[in-house]
Point group: C2
Chain length 148, copies 2
DNA sequence: TTTCATGTAATAATATTTGTTACATGAAAC
DNA sequence: GTTTCATGTAACAAATATTATTACATGAAA
């Protein structure tokens, strides 16, 4: 299946924004992620609502971080995207089938736990930390930037 | 995205097999799950390799459980299907981008942990237990069976 | 008022999962 | 031995999900 990769894209672009320390247009952001500006605007709409980024329209507009990297956890970004994250597909409903109900209940329980763990785990990592893991000495200067 | 629901389907059908206490054709199994016989054969091929079920060809053939329900955990079934179960989509590769590498590494770590928890959790539940959770007094007799 | 950038709807392209058809293979029944 | 029934697969079609693209309205600066 084609998996939702918005979280990965969002984090990738957010760190590029941090690296630049300046606002970026969705076109520039799209270039970072190898995607389309409209996809960026769609993806980041959720982040804007969550206050993780801010956007301004018009000439000279663009996107910027809404608060310090240290105050943004990976879980914050995940939540802002409201993607399913973990989901076991459920079989087609056979209404009234007690067996199916028991199966789905059991699977749901386990999934809820795993999902909680994942969120908890993502909450322990801030963008600042993550940014710190990148060896910035090896990153080309902004002007050279394409997909780097 | 359309999520892989093979685990749900497999468990559902396995319990119906247990309830019947007799071998079933893939056509009968498909009726239980509201799907197609070929889909069942495909799905259960993995379970057969894992010894969870056995199949016999020819006249009077069909599928039967390979070992007692008590010796089959939900994790066994999950493994036999080798579906991804938990996966965060990854952005398109930007080869050599250190930021993307850091992002994906961080996400992978968290996913591996969540996946391990889910498997561990599924390993604690056997099909026998799960079957016990079904109120069998409410299940119509085999002859009445369609999607029940 | 021109230019630039976001916001969003509508639509197309792409990918994944599921469903279907077709037929080969194997085993029992006759 | 031939007919019947069921699995085993390949090949292909349909359904669904995600991503990409186009088009245009809106807002703000030059």
């Amino acid at each position: 299946m084609k998996r939702d990769s918005r979280l990965s894209v969002a984090l990738h672009v957010l760190l590029h924004m941090a690296q630049r320390q300046a606002s970026m247009t969705s076109e520039e952001m799209a270039a970072c992620a190898g995607t389309n500006p409209v996809v960026i605007r769609r993806t980041f709409a959720g982040l804007r609502e969550a206050g993780i980024v801010a956007s301004t329209k018009g000439h000279g507009g663009g996107w910027s971080l809404g608060r310090p990297l240290s105050q943004i956890s990976l879980a914050d970004v995940q939540d802002a995207l409201d993607e399913p994250v973990i989901a076991l597909g459920r079989a087609e409903d056979s209404p009234g089938c007690l067996i199916e109900q028991a199966v789905n209940a059991a699977l749901d329980e386990a999934v809820v736990e795993a999902r909680a763990l994942l969120t908890k785990r993502l909450a322990t990592v801030s963008l600042a930390e993550l940014f710190g893991r990148v060896d910035t000495t090896k990153i080309p200067l902004p002007k050279d930037h394409h997909h780097v």
